[in-house]
Symmetry: C2
Subunit: 570 residues, 2 copies
C-alpha cells in the first residue's frame, strides 16, 4: 500500500513474530535509555526530551516507514547539527532553546513530507559515499571534542575544531579532578567492554550472539555504577556535574509555537538536517534490508521520517532519524517487524514515567563518555587513504568534506562536500579521455592504439570520446578533432565511435555541426559509428544528419571496412 506500508506486515503478524519482536524491544530499550539522555545533552535540550523523542517518533515510523528493522530516534550527527542550528538561531532571536529545537523538528517534518510527496527521494543519491563518510567522520571528531568539557568539568563552546580546542585549552585550569575521574572511569570501562568483553564472554562459554548483546548493555552498567559512585561519595558537592531533577511523565501533545523570525533562522538548517538525516537513515535501511532481501522505498522513507519528526515535534522532542547503532542492535537482537519499535517506544515511555528519579545522581561525564565511545566508532579516517588510492577525485571530495566540516562546521561541510564532488565530476567530464582506436586482429573489436596491438589505416582516424558530449566538453571536442586532422595529412575520413556517448546536447550538437563544416571544407568525411538508440533519436530531430558529409554506421567494424581504400589489383 502506497500510503500505509504498515498494512503489509500487520496482516501477517503472528505469535512467533511477536515473541521475536518483544525480545528485541527489551534489548533496544535498555540500550536506548542512556543513548536518548546522552543525545539530548549533545543537542542541548533537557535530558527528558531525549526520552520524549524516543517514544512517538518510533511509533510514527513503524506505521509509515518501509524498513522492517530501522530504529528511529535521536542520533549523534543530527543532535550535533541541532545544537549548532538552534544555538545560532537562539543567539539571533532570543527565543527559548527548547522551543527552537521543537520547531526545528517540525520544519524538518514539513520538508521531509514535502519531499516525499514530490518523490524527491533521488536527491539523496547526490551525496556520494565519500561525502557522507567524510561528513560523519568529521562530525564524530567534533562531537567527541564537544564532550570533552563534560569529562573535564569545564565550560567550553564552539561548532568547529579550532573553536572547541581553543575554548578547551583556555578553560583547562578549571578542570575538576573528580569529574575527570568519573569520566575516565566510564570511558575506560566502555572502551574495554567494546574491545575485549565479547571475546572474554565467549571464552567463558557464552554464545557469540549473547556476548555481543550483553556488550551492548555496557552503557547501562556504566550509568548504574557512576550513579552509585556519585550518590555514595556525594560527588555533586565535590563539583561533579550531575543530571539533577528530571521531570517524570510523558509530554502533552502540543503544536510548536510558530515564530516567523525563528522559522526564517532555522529553515535552511532544517533542510540540511532533513537531507543528512534521510541519507543516514536510508543507508542504514538499505544495508539491513539487503541482508534479509527486504527493500526500502526511497520516497516512502521520506514520508516515514517526516511522520517521525512530526511526532517528535508534537511531543516536545527534537529532530530524529534512523540511526546506525540502534538499528543494528534491533536487527541483531532478532526484530522481525516494526512492532519491535512500537514495543521499544512503550519501554521508553515506562522509563520516562518511572525511572527519572533514579537519574538524579547521574554524572554528566558518564553520558559524555557514552557519546564519545559511540561516535569514535563512526570515525573512519582510513577511508581517506583507500579513497585516494582508488581515485583522486573521491579522495579530494572526502578530504575536502572532512576539512571543511572540521574548520567551518557541519553545514558548510555538507554543502562543500556535495558541491566539490559534483564539480570534480563535471571537471573530469569537461576534458574527457579520448582514445584513437584500431581493430584488434582477428576480431571486430576496436581498442585504444596506445594500449593494444591493433590494425589501423592511414586514411582513417577512428576517435572514441569516452564521455557524453555536452556543454562542458563541447569546445574540447573541437580541439580533439582538429588536432587529429592537423597531425595527419593523408586523412580522408574521421570516424567518431559513439559507443561511450550517452547524450549529445544542444551545445555539443553545434560543435559537431561546426566540425562537420570545417572537415567538409578540407575534403574530409565525418562519420559516426555505434550511435546508441536514444542519441540517434535526438540527432534525427536535428539538422546534423542531413548535412553530414559522411555516413552513420551500425558498428565501428562496418565503418572501418567500408571506408578502407580499395586495394589496388596486382
Amino acid at each position: 500500500m502506497r500510503w500505509f506500508p504498515a498494512a503489509d506486515w500487520l496482516k501477517s503478524y503472528s505469535r512467533s513474530t511477536f515473541t521475536a519482536d518483544l525480545i528485541a524491544a527489551l534489548i533496544v530499550t535498555i540500550m536506548l535509555i542512556p543513548q536518548s539522555l546522552a543525545y539530548a545533552m549533545l543537542a542541548g535540550v533537557p535530558p527528558e526530551v531525549g526520552l520524549y523523542a524516543s517514544v512517538l517518533p518510533l511509533v510514527a515510523y513503524a506505521l509509515f516507514g518501509t524498513s522492517r528493522t530501522l530504529s528511529v530516534g535521536p542520533v549523534a550527527v543530527i543532535s550535533l547539527m541541532t545544537a549548532s542550528a538552534v544555538g545560532k538561531a537562539v543567539n539571533e532571536t532570543g527565543a527559548s532553546y527548547h522551543e527552537a529545537a521543537i520547531l526545528l523538528a517540525f520544519l524538518s517534518a514539513v520538508i521531509l513530507l514535502g519531499m516525499g510527496l514530490c518523490r524527491f527521494g533521488f536527491l539523496a543519491n547526490f551525496l556520494s559515499h565519500p561525502v557522507v563518510s567524510g561528513f560523519i567522520s568529521a562530525s564524530g571528531i567534533i562531537i567527541a571534542l564537544s564532550q570533552l568539557k563534560h569529562l573535564l568539568g569545564i565550560s567550553a563552546r564552539g561548532d568547529t575544531l579550532i573553536d572547541l580546542v581553543d575554548s578547551l585549552v583556555v578553560n583547562l585550569d578549571q578542570a575538576n579532578v573528580f569529574t575527570l575521574g568519573v569520566g575516565v572511569f566510564a570511558l575506560v570501562f566502555l572502551v574495554w567492554c567494546r574491545t575485549y568483553l565479547p571475546a572474554s564472554l565467549v571464552r567463558l562459554g557464552c554464545h557469540k550472539d549473547l556476548a555481543s548483546t550483553l556488550t551492548k548493555t555496557a552503557p547501562v552498567v556504566a550509568i548504574a555504577a557512576t550513579i552509585g559512585l556519585a550518590y555514595g561519595f556525594d560527588l555533586a558537592d565535590k563539583g561533579v556535574a550531575i543530571v539533577g531533577a528530571v521531570p517524570s511523565g510523558l509530554p502533552t501533545i502540543t503544536l510548536p509555537s510558530f515564530d516567523l523570525r525563528l522559522i526564517d533562522e532555522l529553515w535552511s538548517a532544517a533542510l540540511l538536517i532533513s537531507i543528512i538525516g534521510y541519507v543516514e537513515s536510508i543507508s542504514v535501511g538499505r544495508t539491513l534490508g539487503a541482508k534479509r532481501r527486504q527493500r526500502v522505498n526511497p520516497d516512502q522513507e521520506l514520508i516515514g521520517l517526516g511522520a517521525a519528526n512530526f511526532a517528535s515535534a508534537l511531543s516536545s522532542g527534537f529532530p530524529v532519524t534512523g540511526g546506525f547503532s540502534r538499528s543494528v542492535v534491533n536487527f541483531d537482537a532478532g526484530a522481525q517487524t516494526p512492532a519491535a519499535s512500537i514495543m521499544t517506544a512503550m519501554g521508553i515511555a515506562l522509563a520516562a514515567l518511572f525511572l527519572t528519579p533514579v537519574l538524579f545522581y547521574l554524572p554528566k561525564a558518564t553520558l559524555a563518555a557514552t557519546i564519545i565511545v559511540a561516535v569514535m566508532s563512526l570515525v573512519d579516517l582510513g577511508l581517506l587513504k583507500r579513497a585516494w588510492n582508488y581515485s583522486k577525485r573521491d579522495g579530494l571530495a572526502l578530504a575536502g568534506t572532512i576539512a571543511v566540516t572540521l574548520i567551518a562546521g557541519v553545514e558548510a561541510g555538507v554543502v562543500t562536500g556535495v558541491s566539490l564532488s559534483i564539480f570534480l565530476h563535471l571537471y573530469h567530464t569537461s576534458k574527457p579521455h579520448v582514445a584513437i582506436v584500431g581493430e584488434v586482429p582477428g576480431t571486430q573489436h576496436f581498442r585504444n592504439i596506445n594500449r593494444h596491438h591493433v590494425i589501423t589505416e592511414p586514411t582513417i582516424c577512428s576517435i572514441r570520446v569516452d564521455e557524453s558530449l555536452y556543454f562542458p566538453n563541447a569546445a574540447y571536442l573541437e580541439d580533439v578533432v582538429y588536432a587529429q586532422v592537423a597531425k595527419n595529412a593523408e586523412l580522408k575520413h574521421v570516424i567518431l565511435m559513439c559507443s561511450a556517448i550517452n547524450v549529445i546536447d544542444l551545445s555539443a550538437l553545434e560543435a559537431l555541426e561546426m566540425i562537420n563544416d570545417r572537415l567538409g571544407e578540407l575534403g574530409i568525411g565525418l562519420h559516426l559509428s555505434e550511435v546508441k538508440g536514444p542519441v540517434m533519436d535526438a540527432l534525427e530531430r536535428s539538422h546534423l544528419l542531413e548535412g553530414l558529409n559522411g555516413q552513420v554506421y551500425l558498428s565501428q567494424h562496418e565503418a572501418f571496412v567500408q571506408l578502407q581504400p580499395q586495394k589496388a589489383p596486382h
Copy 2:
C-alpha cells in the same frame, strides 16, 4: 609567446596589412562613437566615459589578447549588468555612481587576470549554449524595455521585467510628444536601414560589401540628423532630453578609489560580469577565428580581457569585453591584425578630444533607439522551440534562464541557468538509459534487444548501462541488476557491458561489490566486458576484481561466446 601574444603578429607586420587595418579602423571608429555613448547611458555613467572605455582597453587587448579581430569595449549586456550592480551598491553605501563603475572594472580586471593566471578558462564551458543564448535574449528584452523611458521622455527604473513595465505604465502620463517624435523617427530609420537599405543599395549598383558597410553607419546618420533637428527646432526647450555638455579631452590615468564596503558590495557582481563577459567574448573570438583558421587561447584571453578592464579602470572607464556586433564589423571591414583596434582607439581618442561639443544637442532618445535596435537583434526566442524539440533538458534550461532573468534580474538569471543545466544533466545521469543487449546476427556487435533483431541466450543477461557509474546512479544500478535477476529464473550469468562506462567512482564501486556479493549468493556469475583502459586501471587498484565471481572479457562477443552453455552432442 605565452605572455605577449602581440609579438606574433608584430614581427610580420607589412604595409598591405597596415592599409587593410586602417580602413577597418575608420569604419569601426564611425560605428563605435554612437555605440560608446549609448552604452555609457545604459550603464548609467556620463557619455564621455563610454569614449574613455573605448580607447585604452582596445590597446590593452590588442597587446595581450589572442584573437586577431575581436573588438573590445563597452557592450550591451555588460553595461546592463554594470547598471544593475552599481545601482544596488550605490544605494547600499552611498558611494558615487561613476566611482563605483570604475571600481567594478578594476575588480573585474583582478578576477579575469587571476583566472587567467590559474588557467581557469575552462570555467566558461560550464555555461551551456542554451544558458548563454537565453541570458542574452532576456537581457536584450530588459535592455530594450529600460530604454523605452528615453524614447517616451519619462523616468522609470527597475532591473526586472515587472519593475520596468510597472514603472513605465505608472509614469506614462508624463510622456513628452517631441521626445517620442525624435525617438520614433530614429527607431524607424534605423530599423529601415537594417532591414531594407542593403538590398536597396545593391539594386542601385552598389557592391554587396560596401552596401553592408554603409548600412553600419546608419546610427551616425541618425545622430547627425537628430542633432540637427534638436538644434534647429530648439527641442531642448520643448522638453526633449539632450546629452548636454560633454567634457572634451582624455582621462588622466588614476587608480580607482578603494572603498572596502563598496568592494564588498561589488565583488560578486564583478565575478558574474567577468564570467559572462568572458563567455561572450570567447564565443565571438572563436566564431571569427574559425572563419580564418586562427585559434584563440582560452587562458590567454582571460589575460587579454583582464588587461582591457585594467586599462578601463585606470582611464575612468567601466567594465568592457569583446562585443559581437563591433567585432563582426571589424572583421567584415577587413581588419587583419589587432593593429586595427589600436588605430580605432586613436580615432575614438580624437573624437573625445574634438567631437564632444557637437554632441551637446544630441537627444538621448536617439541613443536609446540605437540601443534598442542593436539589442533586439540579440533576442532569439525561436531557439526556445528548436531547443525544446531537440532535447527537453536544453529547452528547460533555456526557458528557465529566460524566465528567471526576466523576473528576477540578470544575476539570478545566470546563476539559475548554470545550476539548472548542471542539475538537469546530473538528474538525467542519475537514472541512465539501460539496454539489455544481444548479438546482431552475422556480426560481433551487440545492440538493444528492443530496437534490433538480435540473438540472446536465456542463461545470459547482457546489460549495457549507458552512463558512467558514479554516485548519483550507484543505487539505481543495484535496482537495475536485481530487477533483471528477479525476471529470469534460468539466469546463470550477468554480463555488464562497460562500453559506455567512462568512470566507476568509489560509491559505484561499493554498489558493484554489493551486487557481486548478492549475485554470488544466488549462484549467478557477474562478468564485465569492454572495460576501458582508464576504468580498468582504477578497478585494479580496488578489491572488486579479486572477489569477482566471474571474468573480465575484452569484448562482449568474447564474453557471450565463452559463457554459452556447451551444446549437447546429438
